[in-house]
Symmetry: C2
Subunit: 149 residues, 2 copies
């Protein structure tokens, strides 16, 4: 009786480890798209502020900077080679040019860090410039690695 329980528990444990380690490719794609969608939710409203087309709201900018500081980290592990069969706008270059993809990612991180620091400093001019640089870094990666709509 003891032995039966023991093995049942062990089998359950192994099943769980396996289930946690292997996320389905279609789920990985949904998760990375979710991260991109939320990046847009919190970045896009800042663009007309940076351009001076709508009033600059320092509280919104600071809040969104904090959110984006996390959100910018959440898509990259979804670009697993086993997702290449799943329909998405990711171009084959994501996998055929990994060094270039990694460099584009590092540029996005660097510009986002500059933006977060500027937003924390409260300097409106440098924050506006940094928002523009974040958008450029996003577009730079999309130009090479995302299919145009």
């Amino acid at each position: 009786m003891y032995r039966t329980s023991f093995w049942a528990v062990l089998a359950f444990a192994f099943f769980s480890v396996n289930a946690a380690a292997q996320v389905k490719p279609e789920v990985l794609v949904e998760q990375r798209q979710a991260a991109m969608k939320l990046q847009g939710k919190y970045l896009f409203p800042l663009v007309p502020m940076a351009q001076g087309r709508v009033p600059y709201d320092a509280a919104i900018v600071a809040r969104n900077a904090g959110y984006l500081d996390v959100l910018i980290k959440l898509a990259w592990d979804g670009f697993d080679p086993n997702t290449q069969g799943i329909r998405s706008r990711a171009l084959p270059e994501v996998y055929s040019e990994p060094a270039k993809f990694k460099a584009a990612q590092e540029t996005v991180f660097a510009e986002m860090n500059k933006f977060v620091a500027a937003a924390r400093s409260g300097n409106e001019a440098s924050t506006k410039a940094a928002i523009g640089d974040v958008v450029k870094a996003c577009n730079g990666c999309h130009d090479s690695f995302r299919q145009r709509q």
Copy 2:
């Protein structure tokens, strides 16, 4: 000529303000679903750790706690009354019982704060308990406000 440009710019500015203020209901639903999906991405792997079914990884727990601390804030503004016509699992009670919905939200925030604090403290036992309490708070809200699949 000057006047024409002036009004064109002004019209563009008003359009932009309006576009920023009024996000389409279907976009609001997609954004709140994106937030929920990412909450799952970073919460679910912690559950078997909290239950002792897979090894506890303090680094993963701390990282995910930081992510979830932001992600837990991102869905709520998507439950705008004008999204009620969009297909989703949100039940009508979200809008017919706003005080109860708000209370469920406050419970989730409170349990998440406890979890983030526990993860920061490095106390494994209290962090494991807090993960369980976060899951209970999530389920508590879903039980009343989300359609079963």
